[in-house]
Symmetry: C2
């Protein structure tokens, strides 16, 4: 019996709903996972995150390993206890951050040697070490160390990265031991070469992962290329595994990947742009600090049920941003996450009622007509 059950499969398209079972509850899919990099969704209490309605969040292994240290988190009783979050947690492998945030780093067959972005100390992430760290954190879904091919990259690099990613997955699985409370997903790479994407999927699947993750996309390339590569990656994805697109969280992008059969996704985007005064509305992204909103006493979004829209005006949120108040980021984050949560709810309903394609078209038309941002 797998960890994932499809509850509704569209006849006309690839979109579907499902349930991911974890040691900390069941997670309905499609699902967006807010990012709590350092063991907190920036600006919110965990109770505020629950109130919005999220059942699973993501935390970053790289950051928690360096600070406060996975040994401290383990001593606290694991990440759930440490951060007071009793629902599901997915942790990434830290490989991406070790490469992107460290000034000095080196990949070998053994792993990734890198310098801490905090104090310059030297560390080595091997597939085995990364499994140890995530065991200490006690996350529900763990990700293996992989090699994320950049964009653009040549075919030889993409092929070598793919090969190393598959070998590291074998080692990760061996280090994990028999399936227990933690689910280990496999990550597929392949750069921007369709056949390598398909090869990556087949080779990872041969090692029987518990979930199917697509990595190395949305790293700077055009959206159409992202979707083409995603199609190649998912061509051989079996129905019984949850499909996770790593690093995507804009409303239009969410609709695109769901239409291609993706079940899970995460991104800092909704929370990060919120702290930068960018507000999601059905009519696109609004920069709330504009003078235009100085005397706008309506809510950020008319039909939004979030704490911010129920009690505060655009004028007040604008004032908080202009005055550089902490509450600005908090209220904007509550709203943006609620907006994504509402989108997810509507997506699930549309899939179940067989109207997803029409829902997607209507949402995107209205959203892109009003937005002055690409996301």
């Amino acid at each position: 019996m797998g960890i994932f059950q499809t509850t509704f499969q569209s006849c006309s398209g690839r979109e579907r709903t499902g349930i991911l079972s974890t040691a900390h509850g069941q997670v309905e899919t499609p699902v967006f996972m807010p990012v709590g990099t350092q063991g907190t969704i920036k600006g919110l209490t965990p109770d505020q995150v629950k109130e919005i309605g999220f059942d699973i969040i993501l935390a970053n292994t790289y950051h928690l390993f360096l600070q406060p240290g996975d040994d401290v988190v383990q001593a606290a009783g694991g990440l759930h206890t440490f951060m007071h979050w009793n629902r599901a947690i997915l942790t990434d492998s830290g490989g991406f951050q070790a490469m992107s945030l460290s000034r000095i780093r080196m990949k070998t067959d053994d792993g990734i040697d890198f310098q801490s972005f905090i104090d310059g100390s030297r560390h080595l992430f091997t597939p085995e070490r990364v499994m140890d760290i995530q065991r200490n954190l006690g996350s529900d879904v763990v990700m293996p160390l992989d090699v994320c091919t950049g964009y653009p990259s040549d075919r030889a690099t993409a092929a070598a990265d793919l090969d190393r990613t598959v070998k590291w997955f074998e080692r990760s699985k061996a280090a994990m031991g028999a399936p227990g409370g933690q689910h280990l997903f496999g990550i597929t790479q392949g750069g921007f070469f369709g056949d390598l994407r398909e090869e990556a999927a087949e080779r990872i699947l041969a090692h029987e992962p518990q979930g199917f993750a697509v990595g190395g996309l949305s790293v700077g390339e055009e959206r159409q290329l992202t979707m083409d590569m995603l199609d190649h990656s998912l061509l051989h994805a079996p129905d019984n595994l949850p499909r996770y697109f790593m690093g995507l969280g804009d409303p239009v992008g969410i609709l695109e990947v769901v239409s291609r059969g993706v079940d899970m996704f995460d991104c800092v985007l909704p929370t990060r742009v919120a702290r930068n005064q960018m507000i999601f509305t059905r009519d696109g992204v609004v920069k709330i600090s504009k003078r235009l909103y100085e005397r706008d006493f309506g809510p950020l979004q008319e039909d939004c049920a979030c704490y911010c829209c129920q009690h505060f005006s655009r004028a007040y949120v604008r004032h908080l941003f202009k005055a550089n108040e902490m509450l600005a980021g908090t209220l904007a984050t509550i709203h943006n996450l609620t907006f994504i949560r509402m989108l997810i709810t509507e997506i699930r309903q549309a899939i179940r009622s067989g109207t997803f394609a029409a829902y997607k078209r209507a949402f995107v038309d209205r959203y892109t007509a009003g937005s002055d941002r690409a996301w």
Copy 2:
């Protein structure tokens, strides 16, 4: 019938409990007022402030006048609606900030001419203008423009400031018109000269204020001198007016002024030091970012009922501060305000049971034995 009723007057000391009636509810005294300078208690939602149990907050006229503008707040329906706070609000006069935050400023008999700390624009605060602004804000307790004598100051300056403060209060009262929903307090000055403090009280009282505020103390002088001057200020204070010490919020200071008959006080201290990693405990102030707390999985304060202490450890709060997370300031602020709220509750109980002196001694002994800070 006045706005204030004494509910219990100590026989052995000057401490007392009472009720201040406002257009937004009754406020039990002694009372601490958290400061929401720009229309928000920094880092908290108004619901979090309510949950801690505060019935009245303070907001700053100077800041709200400059940003977003009292006209905007008025158009929003007043400050209560704008910031979603339906309990009492006291606003200061803005005079202190106009003098202390502006690079260029000038006092005349007419008022205070100053430059905005935001954009350098020039403004004039007269007693009448300041009443207008606070009418637009719609606060429950309004303060008249006054002249705060600095420390140290010579006698001639203190006497001149006192004189101007009294004349400005007359003009403020005339500008306010007949007593309505807003209560106008009088502010007594007098620098650090006991006889001037007594003179200020008598002259302000002659104009029948609705509350008795003591200004110009806790501005850099030794605590003993503060208390001596407070005693002089309160010597002729009538029982039927609420007594407000402007700008005090450290635990020991609160106990000191309550023992001298003060009913109300406010300060940014509990919230500001919280954002700077300073935590109130019964054993004094703790700097939570110290290495000492890295693996301390107990709460900030053993018997504290706050959201932070109920769910998070010292180690987690330390981690949040080290990682520069917004939630650090939020949790520390919730705790420090809850600590002050708990102190206030205990003070009221001790006054009513006639054990205030003993309670004060026990609290101060334990607090000062453990603290590595003066407050």
